[in-house]
Chain length 335, copies 4
């Protein structure tokens, strides 16, 4: 019998992607949980075969026997909903930034807001399975990583672990994201005419995803320069990462570091030295693709890391976490 799981925020881009993935999953039955009063425009279809819709209410969640709820909501809504759901023994995967930064002080510094659930913040497991797989199966609350940090950490942390980076010279991460990363809402900034035939940088050096990279990679803020940029595509993140190496002789050696680190990881794919991924390689997949270019004469290295921001950067990774929490194969519904 399938396990019942709920989705709050199913009309957003990440939420809709969750619905698509969970409908392919053989072990769960998705239910849509309506949080906001306004229930939006219908599809117009006479026979609309989507999952059933219920009010997002802890009592109803309990009565329906929903085991796990995905929160594809803004941080404020997640801080409100998570304790209520946990209170009826429903586990939670939160896709917002509410539970990613460990301390209320760090949250306040980067999100410019007070954290209302400091105990849950301390308790939450960070859901980047490639580096935090141990805590996820037993967690009540898993905090799904940000899209930018997912692509950054999978590319950077193995290099830091292997002690190959000239940290004094710093790491530059020039990140580009499709517009769906900004969420589904009316906004002049993300309107078609403002975005098409354009390319723009924002939150230079100060993006709220930066501290997630620092926490996972072990870098200091002074060692990590990050720029987020909006590209005129619907989905996809590509990060071009620059650094200088210490004691590296060849591109093969750098690729080898990744190969060893990720040999058992189903969702990280590597490229031959000198080859790098583009967005098409990862669109609509849960893969993070990584490629390396290296100039041994000058120790300059460039790593390109690409994901689909709505899949490995949001809904796909959330289902990967759910699979670990509920005991399914980690790849179920995701290949």
């Amino acid at each position: 019998m399938p396990v019942k799981v709920g989705i709050v925020g199913y009309r957003g881009y990440s939420g809709a992607e969750l619905v698509r993935i969970l409908q392919r999953h053989t072990g769960v039955e998705p239910l849509l949980l309506e949080h906001r009063a306004d229930n939006g425009p219908s599809s117009g279809l006479i026979r609309d075969d989507g999952p059933p819709v219920l009010p997002c209410d802890a009592e109803i969640v309990a009565k329906e026997g929903i085991s796990l709820v995905f929160l594809a909501t803004p941080p404020e809504a997640s801080m409100e909903l998570a304790p209520a759901l946990l209170g009826v023994n429903c586990r939670v995967v939160d896709l917002s930034g509410a539970f990613r930064l460990r301390t209320p002080e760090n949250y306040a510094a980067w999100y410019k807001a007070t954290h209302t659930q400091p105990e849950l913040l301390a308790e939450a497991a960070y859901g980047l399975p490639e580096f935090c797989r141990e805590r996820i199966p037993g967690a009540r609350l898993v905090s799904n990583p940000g899209c930018y940090p997912t692509a950054a950490n999978l590319a950077i942390r193995p290099l830091i672990e292997a002690n190959l980076v000239d940290r004094a010279a710093g790491i530059v991460c020039d990140a580009k994201s499709g517009v769906s990363g900004a969420g589904r809402k009316a906004s002049l900034t993300t309107s078609f005419c403002e975005v098409t035939e354009n390319f723009s940088a924002y939150s230079i050096l100060k993006h709220r995803h930066v501290p997630e990279v620092l926490l996972t990679s072990g870098l200091e803020e002074s060692e990590f320069s990050f720029t987020a940029q909006l590209i005129p595509v619907d989905r996809g993140i590509l990060e071009t990462i620059y650094f200088r190496t210490v004691g590296v002789k060849s591109a093969e050696e750098l690729v080898g570091i990744y190969q060893r680190r990720y040999q058992n990881e189903p969702f990280v794919r590597l490229y031959h030295p000198g080859r790098v991924p583009d967005l098409h390689a990862v669109a609509h997949t849960n893969f993070c693709d990584i490629g390396v270019v290296f100039d041994p004469a000058t120790d300059r290295a460039v790593v390109v890391s690409a994901i689909d921001n709505l899949v490995k950067g949001a809904a796909g990774q959330a289902v990967q976490n759910m699979n670990l929490m509920l005991g399914f194969a980690e790849t179920e519904g995701l290949l």
Copy 2:
């Protein structure tokens, strides 16, 4: 000495296009008139060389000696501003739909709103110079045509005048527009992720631009089927027009009708029989390009009409009207 002209709504797409065109015009000095309190984000440029900004106030307009004001505003704002400006002897070119339909009843039927200025509605000259050039020079208030009707009427009216269309079979006008036609505003419908990789029809058979086509072409509503459609481009309108001919022997004959009608028109360009324009042909120009495909064996004809919705469909045509009103060469600033 240049003539002073004002622009209300200069932050919108049509308004910004007006500013660009008027800055190239050798006979006028443009001034920006701030109508709404919120004055929006600045460009960030240290030295911003745009025209000066004044409050949009009839007294100030009079004191500054502004001869003519363009209203690139919604119909409600135009109905409010036009009488005040005319009251201080300032002439007006209105780019909204407020003054296009001649009677309050027709306006109410298509705009679903009450017209508050019926006398001005009766007085306004319709600013499609190719067909209404006589009344424009002396008019106090010129109503700039809608973008869809401009492309439609320039293609259809010569055929109706020449009595070549099988009106009983009807004319189909399948119209496609870039997103800037919807104006500059926050809206989910025109957000990048909703529009990119999409194509959608709206206001099928009931678009508020339909009555403008009927008034200018002389067609009955039952003879004219019109669909507006949104394409993922910034600017441009292309209309594919289908009809059956009566007594036409060749495509050359059809093209000849247009050639004779438009031989002295600087802004209508014609194509060799069998060739048709695309959007690139007219982008950033004030041209309306028209091409004809005809099958003499079955009397089926297809006419393609293309304009830039922000130029010939809005700001360019408004300047063309201004040129006629102020006695400049009709093409000044527009070639």
Copy 3:
């Protein structure tokens, strides 16, 4: 044990979509058949988990026990490969236009080329399951319909069968297609800078897909005006179809015609009267979505029909045909 199926032309857009769908299919094992010498650029991935590649050779196909081959090739290649494959008792689903038009004369008239396999042309079953389901299971050679005719016939034929269309006034089908419909090849016409911010009509009244619509719908060429148009999107076809009705009282009545005709069809979806699909509704699905707008006062009707050109318009429908030929559930791999 899975049935082995081969794909020729797997690097093209339709071929790559076939591979994606067949990898999800639980009953078949896909194999890639290399037809051209040049084997193209590799992905760069160190571990590339695609299906195995074999030379496209009838003997090898026989030896490997491949039951069915998809030809995602140009008509000339299909005319060459089909007889060789049928000769070793391998069944064929051809995605090209080679076997769609029944007679060599009709083929010559629309494709401007000689048909080299007139017997196979006569034998081939037309693979539009919603109208030709009977002949497909037993066919050796199934000709997969064109993308435009699929969307057109599913919208038009029920109306013609029900005798509701004023055929004397004619039907207009204004069709728009994403660029992938032109195939994967170097071409200035489909290069990014020529297509972006553009919209262009081609093959007006004379597109080679027209005779497929006539054959399936029963319309005469004089009754059907068709324009194909290129939109700046990757995938999707939307057709806006105009006609006048005879004896119809309401939009509900028109929608009801479709509901009865398609009540058991898994891949046709209908909209409430007055609502119509857009491309996003069908992207990456095998659905054909149909919506109706009707003005009972003037008998004018507009039907919008939308498909994904690479799925229901090519690879998805080809798998639907394969499912019928090999005895799988018709929807296997396609929901």
Copy 4:
């Protein structure tokens, strides 16, 4: 009487932009010089008002009295045509990479080809007016800079001159370009379906524009990491430049360096500290826009530099050079 100037390669994107600009220029009469036999498809327009077309032949150029020719051609064609034109006392602005690198050895190293005109290579003046204005007026042959180096050098060289950069840590230049930078040609790489919804890096660390940056800025190759990337837009280059400062206290100080350096430059625009340009700010203009973000606590700086690759990155800068060579105002035709 206007000066006659010729354009070779007028069908390419840079060439067509040259034609547009020169038609607005009050002091020259443009003529199109047909270099290749195939003269391409016509526009279809019955009355095509473009400049006259002549064969590209030195004798004809001399006879017509053409004073200056723009070569919007590949390097091989430029190396062939430049000596012939100079031989008839016609001056040349070359938009290719043929004459940018000063020595045949450097050319061979980066262009992987033999330079056939080493004397002209030594003679050519590098046409970046903001830094090389002195030599341009008297030059017979001006080599128009590459698009990427124009944006890079205008942003980097003032910082190097002012000795503010920690060169040991290196400068990273993450560059993004619209597709028109690849030229107008049939190519799978630049076809719509490969580019749309994609983002891809190429020539990482090894782009042939790198040596131009080194020559102008004075940086060593080991100090400069450059990646070129293709974005799904028609036109525009945006470069995000990362470095660490030495002895800088504020963003204002960094912006001040640029303000002093460029106070008399008509085509460089600066932003308030913390603000940066996007592509829309410079589209269809000859401006290079520069903005600075700085973190004084960690000495990390990010500079964003944006141009229109077809204007300041090609045709506009070529006309700017022509204006200097022929004694026109530097901004004529360009504002």
